[in-house]
Symmetry: C2
Subunit: 554 residues, 2 copies
């Protein structure tokens, strides 16, 4: 107990922190985060942040605040309830199908363009007050029907959303680029490689909109890059045409009904391909009702009594031709007048090698990914309907030029958990890890001097004082994803440092230090067959320098 009292960093490790690693084998990342009590899922799509998870979240927030403050953005916090009336002004009340309504007057904010534009309009009176640059970090809401991956897609999620108001397009572009730079710093701080995918910027044109992704085979998003025009886009936005070599695909069909229940929609597409109902909705401009099973649906439309009032819409994917053989139509006694057919509509998700619809020339290359950020140049999309304008001394009244900038804060934790994990468990970047170093005493002894040095150097460590044996302690630290394990004891004053955190660079800092210091530090490195450092043995007087050097690349 002597040691505990002396060190401020070893305050208390509640039992809640530790899962039992024997019981976590084979779990997905979502389950692992819960088993390790970083977070808790009270309900599908919802999250409770437990102490360690919240600390990690706070660390990411600190990074974001730092880089947003640096470029002159000011933090605010808008109410999470937003007035439904504002969403009528922007027109998004009708187009956003995932809004949570509260007491009929309010929505739970999924994003705040409407609120912030109304706020800026009301609180400003002169062009001299601009530019105005705001951000907030808070919960956002989406009535997500299929929550996924715990932190990856939820009904409630933590976002950093930023909004800029400039006096000219040029100034707004400069703001956009400064946010772009801040995002690069934020993602650089997190160490993991990321992809900036250009995104369709709607009304505005140009390329001033980017999605920020982590590439990962488990990712829900698929990014396509065209090998001709190099446009890169999310699968949800990638329309594609068939490869030039046309094939006679076997044809599958899926049935839907429109939300008014009047029409049976029959979507025909090549067997084995993934039908995207959003493509049907967007390309054909109809709303589909997804609350009924196909069996019930066909039974409903087969009812001979109501059949005369029903309509039937057949949609043929662009990959099908007139020679494609369609499945038998499941309903008998149809009137021809109730029957419409649309052809050459791309309604399935693109696959590797199909043709880019942007240039009609190149082939699309697919990668799986997780979107974690979006920067968007908005122009006057919101300032115009909200009449958020200023009077310029020379040119008179003009709309403010806006941008908006999102980062999925909770999603970043879920994504990094997923991207970085391996068979041993999680691996956190040092800057957001619950702590930097797990210290294990293999043999009882007085290691206070070393602990003092860790404290003095702001290296966040925890001593594992449990009854577990050495192997179990290492496994627990690795499972939780702590960047380093420091083992003291057996060969003291030689100590052992085992890196766990993942490195994404070949230019490792420790190798440079090793060149100049390995003799002085009595430093030996144990490498695996691929040449990766598995453990470092070093004299206690060099341990701090080696730990700092290792953490730099994690």
């Amino acid at each position: 107990m002597r040691i505990f009292r002396r060190f401020i960093h070893i305050k208390k490790i509640p039992s809640l922190y530790w899962g039992n690693n024997e019981r976590t084998k084979g779990f997905g990342t979502k389950e692992l985060l819960a088993k390790l009590n970083l977070i808790y899922y009270p309900h599908s799509g919802l999250v409770h942040w437990l102490p360690l998870g919240l600390q990690m979240r706070n660390k990411i927030e600190t990074i974001i605040r730092k880089h947003m403050d640096e470029i002159g953005f000011e933090e605010i916090e808008l109410s999470s309830l937003t007035d439904t009336a504002l969403w009528k002004v922007s027109g998004r009340l009708d187009t956003n199908k995932e809004l949570f309504s509260v007491d009929s007057k309010f929505l739970l904010s999924p994003t705040s363009e409407e609120e912030i534009t109304a706020l800026v309009k009301k609180t400003t009176s002169s062009y001299k007050q601009f530019p105005l640059l705001f951000y907030q970090i808070g919960n956002k809401y989406r009535n997500e029907k299929r929550p996924r991956g715990g932190l990856l897609r939820g009904k409630e999620f933590l976002m950093k959303d930023g909004y800029s108001f400039d006096l000219s397009e040029e100034a707004a572009m400069n703001t956009y680029h400064s946010v772009f730079g801040a995002y690069e710093k934020i993602f650089d701080d997190l160490r993991l490689p990321y992809v900036k995918a250009e995104a369709d910027s709607g009304d505005i044109g140009g390329t001033l909109s980017h999605e920020w992704h982590y590439l990962d085979v488990t990712g829900e998003d698929t990014i396509f890059e065209c090998n001709h025009c190099h446009s890169t886009s999310n699968i949800e936005k990638t329309l594609s045409y068939a490869k030039p070599i046309n094939q006679f695909h076997p044809v599958d069909v899926k049935y839907f009904r429109t939300t008014d229940h009047s029409t049976l929609v029959c979507a025909y597409y090549p067997r084995g391909r993934v039908l995207d109902t959003n493509f049907i909705k967007n390309e054909v401009d109809i709303d589909l009702d997804s609350d009924i099973s196909e069996e019930e649906l066909l039974e409903d439309f087969s009812d001979q009594e109501t059949l005369p009032s029903k309509k039937f819409l057949r949609i043929m994917d662009s990959r099908l031709s007139s020679r494609s053989e369609l499945p038998e139509f499941p309903i008998l006694f149809l009137s021809r007048a109730s029957f419409t057919t649309l052809t050459d509509i791309p309604i399935v998700q693109a696959i590797d090698g199909e043709i880019c619809t942007s240039c009609n020339k190149g082939e699309l290359k697919a990668s799986k990914s997780i979107e974690v950020g979006h920067t968007f140049y908005l122009g006057d999309k919101y300032s115009r309907p909200f009449e958020c304008s200023v009077i310029m001394p020379e040119t008179g009244r003009q709309d403010l030029i806006m941008g908006c900038y999102g980062i999925g804060v909770s999603r970043i934790i879920g994504a990094i958990g997923e991207v970085n994990r391996d068979e041993k468990g999680l691996r956190w970047p040092a800057i957001i890890a619950p702590w930097h170093v797990t210290t294990i005493e293999a043999v009882d002894g007085d290691y206070n001097e070393l602990y003092e040095q860790l404290n003095e150097n702001d290296i966040d460590y925890k001593l594992d004082h449990s009854d577990n044996n050495l192997g179990k302690k290492c496994a627990q630290s690795n499972l939780l994803g702590i960047p380093l394990v420091l083992i003291v004891g057996r060969d003291f004053p030689i100590v052992k440092i085992e890196p766990r955190g993942k490195r994404f660079t070949d230019d490792l800092d420790w190798k440079k230090l090793y060149e100049s210091k390995h003799e002085e530090f009595q430093w030996t490195v144990n490498c695996d067959r691929e040449g990766n450092d598995v453990s470092h043995s070093v004299h206690k007087d060099g341990a701090i320098a080696v730990i700092k050097s290792l953490l730099k690349d994690m």
Copy 2:
């Protein structure tokens, strides 16, 4: 511009920060907070936090975190959406009439006893994991029909809510007392005098429940203190007896029925007094049905067919005597057997000068107040219905003993704004003020040495670099509630310091410093007729010491 570049604290003062003081005269505190762009009200009962307001809020949160962490509470963050099913388990779905429902499955959390109890039940497996002490700081929701005072009573408001789970009543009491101590430190840090009112602790008995109030004539709450036993309680919980001089009051009556519809409850009380149905519920231990108008009720109980199965309960307030003349009974043909009368039950709210029921001796003194915190010993009120229990090695399975502890974070800002304001505007305690010192240069000059010293001493100052004149600059700083104005120029190196922040002690720190240093600092004090220091003139080399000393008591 030279000066701006050198000082990190003078980053940017956006126009949004400043209201126009000529246009704020006569405004209430609620309006003043908005005029000064600390906050913005998008809708009745909702608040947007603007940069300066959010910074003040963050400062209060920092104080709360410090003192909660010190007593071993760990910060978490529960989802703001809570499962309706949990509120059925506790029985509060029916009794809480101000819940916001979302998508039928969820509620916007007004408080988190249900969630935290369900969470602790699910994530713990051994008594060794206890005690567990959690708190969170986040938005809470109440479907408030009459929002009031901006930050004082809203549909969305920021709360610190803490929850403790202990293995025994004794341990839970110790936890309660440690929270009590932390609350004292939190409120002491804010400098304003506060009142701890004992509150009825329901099932538990004893006095282990306290409300924390700021006394203020504009307050919505009323607190009574007994001049004999000094018990202090909220009007909603203050039972009282009549003054010794008995009067023959005219008598009023109100009718209710019990929730099982079997019994008509007739409550008789002195005309002009406020009947409190909670007193009836608690003192007579019956549940009243409030979903029916008195007219319908009497019609129902007058039905001659069902009359034989009905019962009638007459409750006479303790202020009535056998000589009080009761209103005519509204229902005819009553059977005596169906008829019960209870006398001497206190069922109306107390008024100044009535007799305390705790000691039966003292008189009650009423004060208006604003409740800003509540500490509550819960016992097994939630752990029992949620079966949140542990198996103790000796004594077997037992329910955990809980406590809950709230602080209205946003309400504290509204309350301090209200309690501390005067005709010049707001007055913030130094620890939460937007900044400590407004610096004004009456004459151009090089004051960099002084600014450097302010920086080095972590005194948060802003240089007012606007085009306003000296008087206007002082008025703006006073209006916003900055504790001190520092005027440099005219008599430099003598500078002038004008205190604005309110002091609540006679033992002022600056007076002690003055004794020993007034000659060295060339320090003179200008006082008003009541002896209050209106301004300090001091040599620049003593200015930092004087500023620090003044801030200590603000």
